[in-house]
Structure formats: C-alpha cells, structure tokens
Symmetry: C2
DNA sequence: CTGTATCCCCAGAGATACTG
DNA sequence: CAGTATCTCTGGGGATACAG
C-alpha cells in the first residue's frame, strides 16, 4: 500500500475536523484564536522575539492579566516559545514558533483588513443609522 | 495638484488607523470581527444567500440570540444585506455584500487553519501537559 | 418562520496587592 | 522585570416565553 501523498492527507484532514460542528475540537480552537489579543500578540511577535514589557507597551490597553493569559494559552498550543533567562532581574523572551508564524500570517490579514476598511465600515454605519 | 493614486491612498489609510492603539476605531472593529460566530456566519454565507433557519442549522450550537445579534452587527457594518419577503410565513434572506465577501476571504483562512492544524495543536498540548 | 423581550447566571476581564 | 493571587463586578450569552 503506497503512502498517502500530500494532497490526500490534506483532504483527509479536511474531513477530520469541521468547525461548523459544535463539538468538534476545531470549533473550540476557532473560538480561542478569534480573539483580538491573540491577533495583536501574534502580530507584534511577527517582528521578532519580544519581552513581556515590550509587548505590553506595543499592545496599548491590554491588562497584565490578559497579556499573561494570552501568552500562556499560545505557549500551551505550541504557537510561541517562552524563554526565561535567570538573571536579576528576570528576563523572559517570547518568540513565535513556525506554527505560530503560520497562524500569524492569516491573522495579520485580519488586522490589516480592519485598518484598511475602517472608512468603509464607518460609512456603512452612518448609512445604517440614517435609514434606521 | 495630481489626484493621489491607489498606492498613495493605501499608504495613507495604513497611517490613518492602527489597531495597536487602544482608542483607534480599528481596534474596536478588530474586536468585533475576531469572533467565532462572525467567522462561521460569513463562511456559511460564502456559499450564497441563506435564510435564518438554514444558518442556524449549519452553524451547530449557535443560539438564536447570538445568531440574530451577529447578523444585525454584520448588517450594520455593511457586510451583509437582509432582504425580507413579506409572505406568510415571513421569509428573510441574508447575503454577503462585496465588502463582506472580502472579509470572508480572510476569515475563511482562519477556519481552514483551525481545521488543518488541529492535530498539531493537540500534539503541542499533550507535549505541554507532559512537560508541565 | 423569524424574530423580539426577559430573566438569570457565571465566566471573563479589570483593579489591586504581593512575590521571586 | 515578570509575574501570581484575589476580589469584585459587569455584561455576554443561554434559556424561555411571546409576537408578527
């Protein structure tokens, strides 16, 4: 029996998970990754490795709790690595894994889209408010 | 003075909005669109116009409240149209606008990514649980 | 069929204080 | 600097009932 090729494996994986199903693991994963903090953290780290403080500064308005929580979840899912340098004071660096970079590529389009189409959305809202 | 070309306008828009800023409208928009229901609704409608009941059936587990709420928000932002046919019983069709189709193209990558990389994520979680 | 209107509840998010 | 631990509290989201 020949080994399945890439296209066959891709098709199988497509069948394996379906986010339209409520109980599918991919539904839960979709819920996790569709999050503004995830989007912004990944995007910030796409520039390269960063420390906790740097991330907090770049991602304005994120609380320490949410930042840590987001970083922990992304680490758990293998999307980023957490490297501790036991100096005094402590130094912790976060960096995307290849899997994280892959997701970041998709997510960055979302952030860009929001920034690029903001005017169109605001116009639509004004139109809607007038018709309403 | 010559009219700005497409590339210049694109650059200006990029400067105009920045989701890293807490108070930027695009931050709020990013928060709105990074949502699993938005992702699933857009993806379902990419197949073509659909009725409320069809959407509810395809998107398993969505409550009526969340579905309506999501549809209203997307309509408000000009991402889909809501067409009422005043028959008895009532018939309501939802369809993506060009702007909605554009966003859907980005979002569909996210759903696909979750389904395609579910195995890798699950493996990472097992690895993390063991190391933990 | 396609919704609104209500009630209710708890997870999630901020704020604050403390530690290695 | 980089967190953890707690507390509080709001508002997101489910369930239910009713209406055009």
């Amino acid at each position: 029996m020949p080994a399945p090729n890439a296209s066959q494996r891709r098709r199988e994986r497509k069948i394996a998970y379906d986010a339209f199903m409520a109980t599918c693991p991919s539904r839960q994963l979709l819920d996790t990754i569709t999050d503004k903090w995830v989007c912004l953290v990944l995007n910030a780290l796409s520039r390269g490795s960063m420390r906790h403080g740097e991330l907090a500064r770049i991602i304005a308005g994120v609380s320490q709790k949410m930042l840590t929580q987001t970083l922990r979840a992304l680490e758990r899912d293998g999307l980023l690595t957490r490297v501790v340098t036991p100096t005094v004071p402590l130094r912790v660096d976060y960096a995307l894994t290849p899997l994280g970079m892959d997701l970041e590529r998709q997510m960055s389009h979302l952030k860009q889209w929001a920034e690029m189409n903001m005017d169109a959305i605001l116009a639509a809202r004004r139109r809607h408010a007038r018709t309403q």
